[in-house]
Symmetry: C2
Subunit: 371 residues, 2 copies
């Protein structure tokens, strides 16, 4: 008798699509009159762009951002022609033709990309592109010098349309960082040269910097998926994911016995440990060794020793043994221990916890309820 995939899976990841939609609506309301796009790069931060993006499109989202051409091509397949898709990295040299072929809007980041796009658009007729201006991130985008050159060299009759001009804040998650206002002012100065072009500066955290940062278009990503856009302040976003790993074995450990690789944890008193079938190969980071935790029936169980490739070990001495048996689920991410809390213990940010979520998890999508 075959068992259901969720029954034989060693870990189950639930993704709450209704929570993602609620987060998008909350951010759209916060951004007031600005259009609210959705960033679904990196496979919707690990949660599945092919499911998340159509769900948001059905909720009214009309513009999606991905990072690469490959992501754009895959997303066009998932979305059909329901929405615009912009590709943040822009075209690699020689790949420009692929953008119109899949109805993708490139974000042009440097004079070379602009020149290649002009050549293509001149050949085949106008095609939308977005312009990325660097205002202080010093990653992608045109420098101030390059903006001036581009303005001077643009043909008097443009061969394509600027769909939007965007810039990216380097310190938006620090509300009072002086660079935020510096970047805003630089972007405002650049806007003067592009009359009528919709402008976008704010991603998740930027939306909470106030109306001066909303402009025409906002581009939330992480906050859609439950990451707190205002670190240090209460999280206004709904939690989206719930990860449970199953117990394979429960064992009694004597005092003085060591647990796991490197004999790195030594029991100071006799206890019980549960071995759970989740490890760093599932994206449960090895840096959670000795620091992470799980929850059984709401009760915290500390992670013991090092996280292995496929297994992690928890101290369940304090939990009713009737609740701790092979097959029982231990909550690894959820209401008790969210993405940001796990990230803090692992010495990283919630974004990396999400994008690392593993391929071996059995994924269950909680649908948006109809009507």
């Amino acid at each position: 008798m075959a068992v259901y995939p969720a029954a034989r899976a060693h870990a189950v990841l639930e993704i709450d699509l209704a929570a993602i939609v609620a987060n998008w609506r909350l951010l759209a309301a916060r951004a007031a009159t600005a259009e609210c796009a959705a960033v679904v790069k990196a496979n919707a931060y690990g949660l599945g762009a092919d499911i998340v993006a159509p769900t948001l499109a059905a909720a009214g989202c009309r513009l999606f951002f991905v990072a690469t051409l490959d992501e754009g091509i895959a997303l066009r397949g998932a979305l059909g022609h329901r929405a615009e898709i912009a590709v943040l990295n822009g075209p690699l040299p020689g790949s420009e033709d692929e953008f119109p072929a899949y109805d993708l809007v490139p974000v042009l980041n440097d004079p070379g990309q602009i020149e290649a796009w002009q050549a293509l658009a001149g050949d085949t007729g106008g095609r939308d592109a977005m312009l990325h201006i660097d205002t202080g991130m010093a990653r992608l985008g045109l420098s101030r010098r390059e903006v001036t050159t581009v303005i001077e060299q643009m043909p008097s009759r443009p061969v394509f349309r600027w769909r939007a001009m965007i810039s990216h804040l380097a310190c938006a998650d620090t509300h009072d960082h002086p660079l935020n206002e510096v970047q805003r002012a630089r972007f405002a100065a650049a806007r003067g040269h592009f009359a009528g072009v919709p402008a976008s500066l704010a991603a998740s955290s930027g939306i909470f910097l106030g109306p001066d940062f909303h402009l025409d278009l906002v581009r939330p990503g992480a906050a859609l998926y439950g990451v707190n856009p205002r670190p240090g302040d209460p999280n206004l976003m709904h939690q989206v994911i719930n990860l449970k790993g199953k117990i394979i074995q429960v064992r009694e450990i004597d005092r003085g016995e060591s647990v796991g690789y490197g004999a790195a944890h030594v029991m100071t008193r006799p206890g019980r440990v549960a071995v759970v079938a989740v490890g760093y190969a599932d994206g449960w980071p090895r840096s959670l060794s000795h620091r992470g935790c799980g929850h059984i029936a709401g009760q915290r169980v500390p992670l013991l020793g090092r996280v292995s490739m496929d297994l992690a070990t928890f101290d369940v001495s304090a939990v009713d043994p009737a609740l701790v048996r092979p097959g029982t689920e231990v909550e690894l991410l959820g209401d008790n221990y969210g993405v940001d809390a796990a990230a803090a213990d692992a010495g990283t940010i919630g974004y990396e916890i999400l994008t690392a979520l593993g391929r071996r998890y059995h994924r269950v999508y909680r649908p948006v309820s109809p009507g």
Copy 2:
């Protein structure tokens, strides 16, 4: 005109199948008369079990280890019936039937799994299983107490055959760790109760602890994929992977300008930076921020600032500008900077660098040459 996937991909991961085969042969020779299996759990440590395992089967490997039932089912599909597949985590309660259905050998880790397997084997006829005995890892496997109980309670006419008995070393990568000999001696004592059952103690590092650790069967994993099984000593294994990320943009940065998120890196002199389309969403760990590096034409280029989700920034001031253009590849992992070196900079182990290798990489397998 459509471009080839490798041309439009933002990063390319080459996997050298001939190097994996050479590593397997080297380990098999080192283990002398012991059978040499291959551990291909976690999708062959991130490199693709569906390609790696058939390649090793063609080279003569007859036994493969995976972690979970799902991995076993997928691998049976890839291998056909050419080889044995053992599942290290054993059956979750209720999933026992699936093992014979896919011709999988469970590793039984506790008395509950043994009891359930006996019941199944009694119903349907004998089926092989492996026995996992804990000798000091305190993770999966029977305790000494449980071994005694199992021996006492085993029916006089066994309903299934022990295909092998295994144990796992906790400190094998530390050659002179006293626990190695303790575990070896405990395992030898347990073997006395299982006459004629093939015994296996050594994984990659254990093979280098000497002939006393080889017994009947060795189970290398990480070393197959190029990880050094003897940390601190020269690596005898062939390098298997080569990862290249493409430059999207090159920019001049003035002195005093900050680069990237959190304005975390400030340029102390004017320079040039290259933005490469690989980030932590690709498994290029965020903990490499400020510490990692790449190579262009063999020349080291330091990673600047924080690794972003889809991008990392390198200081290319010292490299001939003719070599640094959009579309140029930067070597991120390879002969100049191997998996173990990246792991050291990231504060982890090579195993985690491998298993994190991302889904967005365009993967190219270098085949084993015929004959």
